[in-house]
Symmetry: C2
Subunit: 459 residues, 2 copies
Amino acid sequence: ARATFLETIATQIEALGDELIERAVAETGLPRPRIQGERGRTCGQLRTFARTVRAGEWLDVRVDSAQPERQPLPRGDLRQRHIALGPVAVFGASNFPLAFSVAGGDTASALAAGCPVIVKAHGAHPGTSELVGRAVALAVKACGLPDGVFSLLYDSGYALGVALVSDPRIKAVGFTGSRRGGIALTQAAQARPEPIPVYAEMSSINPVYLFPAALEARAEALAQGFMTSLTQGAGQFCTNPGLVIAIQGRGLDRFISAAREQLPHCAAQTMLTPGIFSAYAAGISALSEHAHLAAKGLAADGPNQGQAHLFVTQASAFLGNEQLQAEVFGAASLIVQCADADEVRQVSEHLEGQLTATLHLDADDVASARALLPVLERQAGRLLVNGWPTGVEVCDAMVHGGPYPATSDSRSTSVGTAAIQRFLRPVCYQDFPDALLPEALQHGNPLLLRRLLDGQREA
Amino acid sequence: ARATFLETIATQIEALGDELIERAVAETGLPRPRIQGERGRTCGQLRTFARTVRAGEWLDVRVDSAQPERQPLPRGDLRQRHIALGPVAVFGASNFPLAFSVAGGDTASALAAGCPVIVKAHGAHPGTSELVGRAVALAVKACGLPDGVFSLLYDSGYALGVALVSDPRIKAVGFTGSRRGGIALTQAAQARPEPIPVYAEMSSINPVYLFPAALEARAEALAQGFMTSLTQGAGQFCTNPGLVIAIQGRGLDRFISAAREQLPHCAAQTMLTPGIFSAYAAGISALSEHAHLAAKGLAADGPNQGQAHLFVTQASAFLGNEQLQAEVFGAASLIVQCADADEVRQVSEHLEGQLTATLHLDADDVASARALLPVLERQAGRLLVNGWPTGVEVCDAMVHGGPYPATSDSRSTSVGTAAIQRFLRPVCYQDFPDALLPEALQHGNPLLLRRLLDGQREA
């Protein structure tokens, strides 16, 4: 039933048709193909979670059979499954009006886990939120579920959000946004008589490591890929490449030259909200004070347009100034020039937790990359080779999360099917008669789950 | 190698022989068979975690193969595994000098996950801690591991503990003890620039529900079982039955009568520490003020001996006084008499989070128990039928944990193999060449893991 509900939400969102696309484009300034793609991802992830719910592995069923003859004490019959944590508060993201908003990833994973969801719509796209909220409400009705399964709230300030997180009936929180917002919600959740988990995806500058052989072989192509990733969506992705780390030399010089040639041709883009635009301007101003401006994109020709910026600094300066690793939400990036591999390592160890770390390498770089890998694994939730961090796949293996402050809880992901585990907890049933056991744990295994039975996984 | 290390610790603890048993008996006042049993559990759980490490399911390997032809965008090759969170601080428990101390459950699960461990020994059994600490150190040396894999600290106050939890190099905390201690550590962990997870097992009164048909059939036998569970180990178990809930009537009257006959024959027992004894005395005094004393055990004939106490109250009084559900660590329990099933449900919904909830029922009680089950599932980590909560099994299905304040983090267990998951986080590897991939994720699957491959679990 829960899987069907998720699929029905997807169907209802698709049934909104062009009205939804037009509204979202109007409210966000994002291009139409981007919104269409996001609708596809949104409906796709709802259906993916439906498959995950049906597969049943999230129940993590474990059975330890009774050993009545065991000495010195008999062992009872012990069975474990996972159940929903309870009602979840979800805060929509400004930069994903569909995929991380009303019926986005957090909502889908919480509903998949069996949690009722209360969404606080993001003020940047109220009409889009309302349309999607109505689609979910229709799905609730079509599936004969109680109204309380899903609620949608509107508010522009912090007050409602904090009240929501502080309500004793809420048992977990999903949030995507600024570090300030995430920390405020986490603190409110911790100040409750009963603290609750908060999954806040807050800030990340997504370091990109350019290794010498790769730079030598294709500095210009790397610069081209970097520009595309940097400026995509006006740079308003949590996985935007805000930091480039490389050993100085001819290869890096060529990369910087190519970037300096290309960036001035990149058009300024309308940013999502006036608030994001002014925060971006403030970030650029701070970077300008502490690093060397290498290049910038075309100037704005309209309100709230973000102009791309690229800065360069030395490792020693970077290591000495925490402000240089502050997230600037938009198309800004900083190249850190290192003297040698040891300095690359120092810079890497100096970084805060990140959502992603990217390595560009050729065969001759593999040994140096391997040496750096343990540092990167401690630093980020997703590591990429010869790609760009923007563009997150909804699948089983994805990790969109990472050590603090990338997220408030590194033990999970907010994208991909593993996200269902954020809203579950285990319960053990000891010596229950079959008639009282939930179906997933009954002796006959009616759901045909692959249980962990007496230490062995069933085939 | 990690599995061998865990097994070597077990071997080294066994090699301590009688010296360890005698020291632990002398320091804790616990009877010799109890300490011998606890040594068996301690070594057994180290070996169980070794098997869990070898089985490799904790890696949660997920592979989504590349789809280079996918439209509109190709998909990369994505692989996920779990890695260790980092160094873990473990606080030993007073009531389990072996099984939840230096090489106890928290240490075993953290080492199994690949985390270095720093143990703060409990002041109640310093010699026992030192002996076990030396055994672990010998195992570190025998396995050729770096010294930093394991450390043991001594201190009697809060200061060192808070300093340890506040150290930026510590990435998670395991604690078993008082609610005050657990809350202090949780707050210190949250106040860090980088907050970290704390797994604190704090307080639980473990409600026992006696259903009418079961009471009718065997009130006296239930009273006998209750007495045994209540007074075991001077009542110093986190799973001690501190609350009994039943509908008033002839069956419950018989249960109370039997308890009143039996309890006066129960000997007082030496408690673990003077501090625990005085806290117990204070708890008894508070209960005496607000509930009716039904019976007590034999008086103490030595210092620090805890005398068993049984109280009775009405549901209305219980619902009106939060103090009646405060944990009293020792052989004290409170019977709550309810008018009907509805009042049983009210009492149940009024309870804080618990480690366990126990149901005594016969065939005629199954329907009422089924109706109450959703409340109990929200309330506790382990539900038992026709048993007693004291006695925790180390196995795959065990859940020793529960909603706050039973534990600070209900999403996990501190006993059983699932505890390994408390110290892990996921990392995703995108488009890595095989030479750079960790063994668990390589294309040829050299570890023969049952991966989640393109949505299907391998056989």
